[in-house]
């Protein structure tokens, strides 16, 4: 039984770090790297060997109506692999980046709590347990956003914490209503009870969950906290937040609840489509005008989350495939872009694109990988972003929703425009940039090159042979909707 280890390993690492780390961070680094590598091996192993299987684990062997159940299916394994890849590269990037801020072990302890919370959210099959894990990871995120200790960081962290607690309270209210209607907290059991309850109550539950988790996913009407929090955090943490945290706490939970438990009611799919298209277009318009590199990237996160919402909202096989694929791709290239921003900030001491200049000669790896990531996010073939956006646009046309397809194309064009601005001003202008003598070491370069290679390599997942093994089991979990309930309850 490997399922509980996805929570045990990072939690154990987080607490061991506080015990054995002395003044310096050497042991903390070693322990956290070991923990994340073992998570990567475990998750890759289960992703490759499991295919369409669904594993369940009963905590302390209390059976379903009483105890907490952990569920791992193809979708969960896919997300676990994603979390492990991004957190490994982020940790490697952190080593020298965080030493510029301070050199103590608290960063790594909080980082492991963040990973533990996200892994818990992915594999839990119990609604209240999910809420607790959401709180664990988001608490670590508040602290990590404020880690640098500058005034702006406290400001961003405070805003983030206020919005986060509002969304958590709304989710808790949703859980209360769900429990009163169904008398259970196990997700699969709730799904069994749902068809028999009043449709007004279903609307209440759905509405509270859309508002609560939509806030965490930073969909458009609820987006205000994201640009502040994601641009003020240390660069590797921005990559974690933008790359995976908003997807796990927001998108994954919404998809799990509305597809596998609620059987994808059309009313909520329409909400997905509408908030998706609004986020897509408004996010990119706000991004074009930004001059702060990381703030620009943060606004793009809102816009790209819109594509994922749109793909899932279409709810056809092709739409779900596009959503899942874009979720993976966005995590890869957005994290890479945040590492680039962090590297640029390390070398030049600024994030203002107007003050940057010809960086290609000074930091060639950074500027070349940022080129790859910019092309990928703008949807230029042969990079991964092109294929996932293409799938979503084709799916929209196939589902007779040409308006959404048009919005997606327009969003993509403006994305290209804003990243041309980044490349033109930030990396390839004539002007000579001021450098402060600090250099990018091999660990930072390694993290960036790994993700750049993955950006190109994941575009191979579109080839039918590989797609059938890698992505189709994940899509099947969502396409079969309430089959999840039978698989979990059937054992």
């Amino acid at each position: 039984m490997i399922i509980p280890y996805f929570i045990i390993i990072p939690l154990l690492a987080a607490f061991l770090i506080t015990l054995i780390a002395g003044e310096k961070d050497d042991w903390a680094i070693i322990l956290s790297i070991i923990a994340v590598i073992s998570l990567l091996i475990l998750s890759l192993f289960s992703y490759i060997t499991m295919h369409t299987e669904t594993l369940t684990y009963y905590m302390s062997s209390w059976k379903i109506p009483v105890g907490i159940v952990l569920v791992q299916d193809a979708l969960a394994s896919f997300m676990l692999v994603l979390v492990s890849i991004i957190s490994l590269t982020s940790l490697i990037f952190s080593i020298s980046y965080v030493r510029n801020l301070s050199s103590d072990w608290k960063y790594y302890s909080l980082f492991m709590l963040l990973v533990a919370g996200m892994n818990g959210v992915i594999i839990t099959g119990d609604l209240f347990n999910l809420f607790v894990f959401v709180e664990i990871s988001i608490f670590a995120a508040y602290a990590l956003v404020a880690y640098g200790g500058k005034a702006e960081e406290f400001e961003a962290s405070f805003k983030y914490a206020v919005m986060g607690s509002v969304s958590s309270t709304i989710v808790l209210l949703g859980i209360a209503v769900t429990y009163s209607a169904t008398s259970t907290l196990t997700l699969a059991k709730i799904g069994e009870q749902l068809p028999s309850i009043n449709s007004n109550i279903k609307l209440w539950i759905g509405g509270l969950f859309v508002a609560g988790f939509g806030l965490k996913a930073a969909a458009m009407p609820f987006h205000a906290w994201l640009p502040d929090a994601h641009s003020s955090a240390p660069a590797p943490i921005s990559a974690m937040l933008s790359g995976i945290l908003i997807k796990i706490l927001g998108m994954y939970v919404l998809v799990r609840i509305f597809f596998n438990i609620f059987d994808a009611p059309q009313f909520f799919l329409n909400i997905f489509l509408i908030i998706g298209s609004i986020s897509m277009i408004v996010g990119v318009f706000l991004a074009v005008g930004q001059w702060d590199f990381k703030r620009l990237l943060a606004y793009h996160s809102i816009s790209q989350m819109g594509y994922i919402f749109l793909g899932f909202g279409l709810s056809t096989t092709l739409g779900i495939l596009g959503g899942v694929f874009h979720l993976l791709n966005h995590a890869l290239f957005k994290s890479l872009l945040f590492y680039n921003a962090g590297a640029v900030e390390t070398v030049t001491g600024t994030r203002d694109l107007r003050k940057l200049g010809n960086l290609t000669k000074i930091i060639p790896t950074t500027s070349n990988t940022s080129m790859i990531a910019s092309l990928a996010i703008s949807g230029i073939p042969p990079f991964n972003g092109f294929f996932s956006k293409l799938i979503i646009i084709i799916a929209a046309i196939e589902a007779n929703q040409p308006v959404y397809a048009l919005i997606a194309v327009i969003g993509s064009i403006f994305t290209l425009a804003s990243f041309m601005k980044v490349q033109r001003y930030g990396f390839r202008s004539e002007k000579k940039a001021d450098v402060n003598g600090k250099s990018i070491d091999w660990k930072m370069n390694f993290a960036m090159i790994t993700l750049a290679v993955l950006c190109v390599a994941t575009s191979l997942m579109i080839i039918p042979g590989i797609r059938e093994i890698a992505l189709d089991p994940v899509v099947d979990v969502l396409k079969n909707k309430t089959l999840y309930i039978q698989l979990v309850m059937g054992k």
Partner: protein, 112 residues
């Protein structure tokens, strides 16, 4: 029915406070009010008229008891709220050190 409505109004009072108050401490208190409303809602859902406390003993039938599970959930959620409040107060103190004010409208270096 009226108690649920009152409880929901308490929740809305919390949201109103977060949206309109300018003082950091008042915002933190509003978040606390929202949390209390959600906890109260859980306890209200578990309550039944003329029922007894959920402890098994001689002569007490299970069917007469209130539901104990939401009470356990509320304990957990109170602990989480304690953590949230402590975190927010710590951040507010640090913000006061940096900006010398608790007024949220004067704390705006981040914009755009």
């Amino acid at each position: 029915m009226i108690v649920y409505l009152l409880c929901f109004i308490l929740f809305l009072v919390g949201i109103y406070g977060i949206l309109t108050k300018r003082d950091l401490v008042k915002i933190i208190l509003s978040i606390g009010i929202m949390g209390y409303a959600a906890n109260l809602m859980l306890i209200l859902f578990a309550y039944r008229n003329n029922s007894i406390y959920p402890i098994l003993s001689e002569g007490k039938a299970v069917s007469q008891m209130v539901d104990p599970l939401p009470q356990a959930l509320v304990l957990t959620s109170i602990v989480i709220e304690l953590g949230t409040t402590a975190m927010l107060v710590a951040l507010a103190l640090r913000l006061y050190e940096k900006y010398k004010t608790f007024d949220i409208t004067k704390i705006r270096r981040l914009k755009g």
